[in-house]
Symmetry: C2
Subunit: 139 residues, 2 copies
DNA sequence: CTAGTTGCAAATCATTTGCACTTGC
DNA sequence: GCAAGTGCAAATGATTTGCAACTAG
């Protein structure tokens, strides 16, 4: 059984063509951070006949099931990525929009501490750094 | 001259009634983190006649001038707060929506390091922790 | 068979914009 | 006086929803 099929079953979601196609697309685009609109165009280019409504529905369901992560960078629209085993955060170039991933245990640990000190039990966090990427710093 | 008047002048913005009212409202609601829609309702309750379009325009201009900060928590709409001298980040309760502010130099310093290691010159960041607040943990 | 899924078009929500009118300097 | 600011209504862009047709289990 394909890995994606298993992921869907484990999440309690029916294994449908649309869901398979969408997860395959996300898997083959790791690191891309595409918006719904961009994913939709990619599907069309691949010749797949998936409605944008279905795309949004599947992304939302998969997000709730933990198969997909939704990221909200500055500037309105959300971008999506396939969920990885390991958590990471993002650095976005304010000039060209390039996105890099990073993971830092010092920050992660400190976040849990800060939350605990405030009396919160931390469940999640979002952290995005903005700056000029190496390529854009020279311009 | 009123403090707010000075802020506007220093920012190179004309001192208009709408701008004064909006900044006054934000100042008298420090820590509230209200959305544009909520601010609009508050203005109406105060009997002020400010259009929602103006509200958005003023918020955007003041954000660009550094007088106001726009925060994007999960769930679509942005919330606004008057800019403070000192930077801070936020912890949001996933149950009741309560927002607390915090500042942690360990994290801030580490963020700059992480960005530098990736070759970026960090200009800004957004960090929001999500969890259950003390009040909601008992439920 | 039938509850869950999908595609389409229409709806919704937050935010932005065009335009004629008003106001700060 | 005039460029900048404002209110209103209409436009926009991203995302969601109603509904009738379709499909996985």
């Amino acid at each position: 059984m394909k890995r994606i099929t298993k992921k869907l079953k484990d999440a309690g979601l029916k294994v449908t063509a649309a869901r398979m196609k969408i997860l395959e697309l996300l898997e083959s685009n790791r690191g891309t951070h595409a918006s719904a609109e961009e994913l939709y165009r990619m599907m069309l280019e691949r010749g797949e006949d998936i409605g944008i409504a279905t795309l949004y529905r599947v992304l939302t369901q998969c997000e709730q099931a933990g198969l997909v992560e939704r990221l909200q960078f500055e500037g309105g629209r959300a971008v999506f990525e396939i969920a990885e085993e390991s958590h990471h955060d993002h650095i976005v170039c304010v000039r060209c929009g390039q996105v890099q991933e990073f993971h830092d245990e010092v920050i992660e640990a400190r976040q849990r501490e800060v939350a605990r000190d405030a009396g919160f039990e931390m469940e999640d966090h979002s952290m995005v750094l903005y700056g000029l990427c190496p390529g854009c710093r020279g311009d």
